[in-house]
């Protein structure tokens, strides 16, 4: 049998390289995320840019004089003592909340890790604050902390016979801050995420350490903490952002009172909107200053986390 003779032209493309495949995959991926980019651009990007330009403008309900205000909105905010008081409260609350919530979360996570019997029961109980709607939980605390009829004062007065400890927990300036921090910690901090991080640590390390004679504290110090570092840094960043955005507990429990002592920056923005259109510019500017602060803090924590990982 003879060889087949090819007739006609055959067009042979150049061979497909790895780079081509990569480019095609990238193009396809971009194509898939175009709808998301459009949505983000429309509903986040556009309002962000629009509101940023507003901070340099004079505007009311009816019209906007673009860039007519220059930097005067920012000067107005920086000259207002209310802004600095709200900023001070927000930062103080954030530092206090993050430190205590991380410590508490870590303690609970470590304890849950150690529990061998009934662990799921304890986890279920500790998980309850997470499933209860935030506002409902806060309203519950409003009743517990009621100075006249609340459970807390009733226990202190009638059960423990300590009338000296009875307080107007949310309306007394000396106790309002601490009470707010305590109420926002009723979920025991970010123990869920920390527990996940703990459970990811291989048990072999602990067994090896025990063989070498390490104590429990030594295991915690030389195994748990170092291997949990990345998780801790990420969770700390999340907790920081959460604390900076404090609004709902203030809205439900204190309304920024007494005398503005529990007013956060977010709540200040809300109050200024309430004051009417003459204060839209002020509120928008505070919002942007706040966003800048959050961005700086987020960048700092991310840099620290990266350095920690590299170490």
């Amino acid at each position: 049998m003879g060889k087949a003779r090819l007739t006609g032209k055959i067009s042979i493309g150049r061979p497909v390289t790895g780079r081509d495949m990569e480019r095609r995959q990238t193009q396809f991926a971009l194509f898939l995320i175009i709808p998301s980019i459009i949505m983000i651009g429309l509903f986040i990007g556009y309002p962000l840019v629009y509101s940023f330009f507003l901070t340099f403008s004079k505007f009311t309900i009816q019209k906007v004089d673009w860039f007519a205000a220059g930097t005067s909105n920012y000067s107005l905010v920086f000259k207002d003592q209310t802004f600095w008081d709200a900023l001070g409260f927000t930062l103080l609350y954030t530092m206090t909340y993050v430190v205590i919530s991380m410590a508490l979360g870590l303690l609970v996570a470590v304890l849950l890790q150690q529990v061998t019997m009934g662990g799921s029961i304890f986890r279920g109980i500790l998980f309850l604050p997470t499933v209860i709607p935030v506002t409902m939980g806060l309203l519950m605390f409003q009743w517990v902390l009621d100075p006249n009829n609340g459970v807390l004062n009733h226990v202190l007065l009638r059960v423990l016979n300590r009338p000296d400890l009875v307080h107007n927990w949310l309306t007394d300036e000396t106790t309002a801050f601490g009470t707010l921090v305590t109420v926002t910690l009723w979920g025991f901090g970010p123990w869920i995420l920390l527990l996940a991080g703990l459970l990811a640590i291989p048990k072999d390390f602990y067994e090896a350490a025990r063989v070498d004679g390490a104590t429990r504290f030594g295991e915690f110090q030389h195994i748990t903490l170092p291997l949990l570092r990345n998780t801790v840094m990420i969770v700390t960043t999340l907790q920081t952002i959460k604390a900076l955005k404090l609004f709902v507990p203030i809205y439900v429990l204190t309304e920024g009172n007494p005398a503005g002592s529990t007013r956060s920056l977010y709540y200040l923005v809300f109050q200024k909107i309430n004051n009417g259109q003459n204060y839209y510019a002020y509120a928008t500017t505070v919002g942007w200053i706040f966003a800048a602060i959050v961005l700086v803090i987020s960048i700092l924590t991310t840099l620290i986390a990266r350095q920690t990982r590299e170490r």
Partner: protein, 440 residues
Amino acid sequence: MNTFSQRLLTLIFVASLCLLSVTNLQPVRADNLSGKLVVDVESWMIDKYNMKELAARFMKDHPNVEVEVITHEGLGASYQNIFLEWAQTKASTADLYFGGLISQLSPVIIDNALLPWDEIMTGDLAPDKWIKGFLSYSEVPGAKDGEKYLTLPGLGETINFQYNTKLFESAGLKAPTSYDELYTAACKLAAMKVNDKSLLGFEGEYNLNFAPDTWMAAVTAEEGTYLTADGKPNWDSAAGKRWIEFQKKIVDNKCGGTSVLTDNNGARNALKAGQAAIINASNSRLSEGSVALCAEKDTFPCKSGETIQAFDYFGGKGTLAFSHQIYIPRVAKNINAARAFAKEQLLSSYAQTWSAMHYGKMPTIWANYDALPKNVNFDHVRNELKGDTQGQWVYRDGQLLRQLYVDNLQSYLSGKITLDEMISKLKDGTDKADLTVPKG
């Protein structure tokens, strides 16, 4: 069947059909109202003004109209959303709004965003038929005929003290007639226990809801007005300072509670629970408290008498009266139906007397007031309204001034600033505020 029979049967059939049609006919209404009517009210009005019932009644009378009742919160932020919608979209979600004080609505009144009501104010709704203390609050000063009323008062209230008569009786006290008597009563009651629970002598208003109004009421009662000659709040008024100092004395000596600092309804709830002996807020607390504490439930008036009764601010020179407004934005769609709903339902005797009896929200038309059952508290408010009254301030920055007063009052009560510092800050803040008022 022969032809005659066929024709007879046909005739009987047609006659039967005609008879059936005639018996099913309903009177034809001359009703040019149709379409959807959206009514937006403050959320508390759903219950306290029986809005669902009013909507059902209107739809029964106007079968071609579908009424939808929606709500908004009574906070400033909600009103900003509504005003923004009107201005930016040139449209309105609702055709008719009910709720909002002139002080909250002054920006849109000043900006001429509302339709006037003057043309329907004839007959039973003629200006002289209204309670002057409420209608005057809605009137735009200096406006030309046809545009005097851009809002109408739907329900009204006065500011006075509300006290528990039974607690007073058990303490051997009478309704106070001066600050000294009020202080003595508050402290005596605060030292008492009822059912092993401490009483709250005087639970004052120190928050956004009523704190500024109590200042306005105290000054109006003693000096006839809380405004200076150039229309600013008279922060230097001796009566105002007396009132502020009185509140500090109450707080410092623990003759009253401060739950209102974090709960706008703290005082009202304590009164209804029988725990607060005296509060000072809007007169609706008289009905609410009496209904809550009446031994005979579901009766009005309470057969054993109204447990909660009123006494006025000291001085007798005037009462602070305010009302929640009814208004239609110029950009509303179904304006005819909106006007009809306001006239036939919101301002009806049924609606206004129902709200007064159940929740103490007073009628704004005398005929509806006169339709109320005899009641000591209604009589008290009637006397207030027959005398001199003044409304709340209506500046464009009215809400800001309210917040300014509350912030500084709380700082003073907590000892952070002195009274002189408080007055100075109030004057300073007022000078920087936009005091534009609605005018023709």
